[in-house]
Symmetry: none
Subunit: 197 residues, 4 copies
């Protein structure tokens, strides 16, 4: 597969991503993607065999980029609290975009695919985020920004709350204030008081 093919594959994945964002996972057919890409029916099959395969590759790209974003934030010199707050604000933005993200599609995808743990990107991301938050909190505790007795437990709790907010935003809707309130609650548990925006 030459350079051109790689470009086209990338183009298909980017276009398909938009389709998944708009329609979720299950509802998307090969035909939808074909039409969105403006290519022929058979043409798509040259690159991908199924919507599942396409979606997994879309997620893989997404994950790579997400990791980059994360390390970007960490590069800057900032206190632990700054970084944690920044992270939570990023999550908030994503939460409130709701219909513009892959979130729903990802959930749907995992609903119908019981992937073995080793392949479960979602789990990897979750565990990795817990670890990063734990480190952050530990750093914050050390330099007196945070107060916390169970750093790992708190990190896990934060991630489950974020998951709860994420799914709730998809099912029962989510207002900015609700997210702010939860972020404040988390931070106040660490002994940090947020100022009103």
């Amino acid at each position: 597969m030459g350079e051109k093919s790689i470009q086209k594959k990338k183009y298909i994945l980017e276009t398909a991503r938009k389709v998944f964002v708009e329609k979720g996972f299950k509802k998307v057919t090969m035909k939808d993607i074909v039409e969105a890409c403006g290519i022929s029916r058979g043409g798509l099959y040259l690159y991908f065999d199924s919507t599942s395969q396409i979606f997994m590759e879309v997620m893989r790209l997404e994950t790579q980029e997400a990791d980059d974003v994360f390390s970007d934030s960490i590069k800057e010199d900032a206190t632990a609290a700054d970084i944690l707050i920044l992270f939570l604000q990023e999550q908030k933005k994503e939460l409130l975009r709701r219909k513009d993200t892959l979130t729903q599609a990802i959930y749907e995808f995992y609903f119908e695919n019981d992937l073995p743990k080793k392949d479960n990107i979602l789990k990897k991301q979750f565990d990795s985020a817990v670890k990063i938050i734990e480190k952050l909190i530990e750093a914050g505790v050390e330099n007196g920004e945070f107060y916390c007795e169970d750093c790992k437990g708190t990190a896990r709790n934060i991630m489950f709350v974020l998951e709860g907010l994420k799914i709730s935003s998809q099912t029962i809707g989510m207002k900015a204030e609700t997210v702010d309130r939860e972020i404040s609650f988390i931070l106040s548990g660490l002994g940090v008081e947020m100022e009103e925006e």
Copy 2:
């Protein structure tokens, strides 16, 4: 609609529920329900027009029964902590049953139906659960069982954690210990130490 019709409708809903538990929401077709019920294709249409409509009625039944269950627990004379722990244990059981509940189907249903808030049973349930937990915590604080500065915030936090656990159990899997750990974390935030089971 006569008595007989009501019975039949109920029979269809109960049977359809099993189908939704097994397959989620989206994958279920009218044909699936027809076959599970052992009735004719046209027969089903006399009572329901779509899987969405059936599912909404299944959820309505479910909610009624869920409320009953809740009030059952409250009837007993028990301390606030007892009741809260009981509630959390119930949630844990449901979480771990995973594939035997409507959870996934409900999520899928809400993904593709942006129901106006007034019809959003999920939201009603969530808000109502927050209120009940808030009352419980307040009661617990009053009689010295709990320590808590922001009862409403804590109640909300608990519910979001539970949501987070619920969706995680569907997507990345969930072990009993993970749930226990989260429950312990919640309770320790209220100044209650759980004993090992």
Copy 3:
């Protein structure tokens, strides 16, 4: 399945038979049969799942009728030689009809389906024909019409010659004289001289 369905099923099989006669087995698609029957695409699937299934049922019908035809000839009071000659003439007619029979479709069908022996109608028919011919020859020998040292071997030989003529008529073509010549050869082996037609 009601009386009406049985009628329709029969109608489909009869119509499909014509399609198989015309096109053989492999080339025939579900769409071909749908169009020949003048029914809807989905309609055909109510009755049959595949062309293979349809073809097997067509063959089953064919076999039943073929058996009837055979017993018809036997009913009449005739000498062994008469019956054998009659049988060979029937075979000749079928051979020369060539494109108006299921022969080719049957061969194609067996080419791609290695049916276990018990389900192999072709084998059953072959073996049964051998037995009948053997009896005929034995009867003919007893009443002095035939001369034959190995009745079973001769019966088998006759059937293989007929098979050879059948496949040859499909592949290299077959003239009436060629068949007549073979029939004469067979009969002269039994000590019977055919008169010219």
Copy 4:
């Protein structure tokens, strides 16, 4: 067309032959041959336009080689009976190989192509074989090995029996004993008794 092209054409035909042996004729697609050859889609079209064309050339090669094989047997100095028996044994071997020959593909090919007689290789081969067998029998009769009243008829009969065995081996299966029995029958008709192998 240069030397290189001729080599490539030959390579394609040899590879395609294997595909036809394995799959018959109808099931084989240009794609199958492209993949088996490890060449490009477009590349195949430079040499051949269709599977039919490829198959005809495969058969042409096959026939040439088959003739060679035949003349090989004849070269040796042997009695007529020896040669006839050798020929029948060769046919037997081929019959029993069944799935390793082009037989089925050839039948399928002729089923869907009504080739005019002059192009019908199968017919040519058949007629030529009849002639050779006739000569053999005549020679055998002359030197007292065989007894036969109608050499041409017998030769034709032998060939039709062989055709019958061949098609039967493809459709209803064939055991070695069955072939042996038929060969013995043929030879005993010529006054030759086979010994058990």
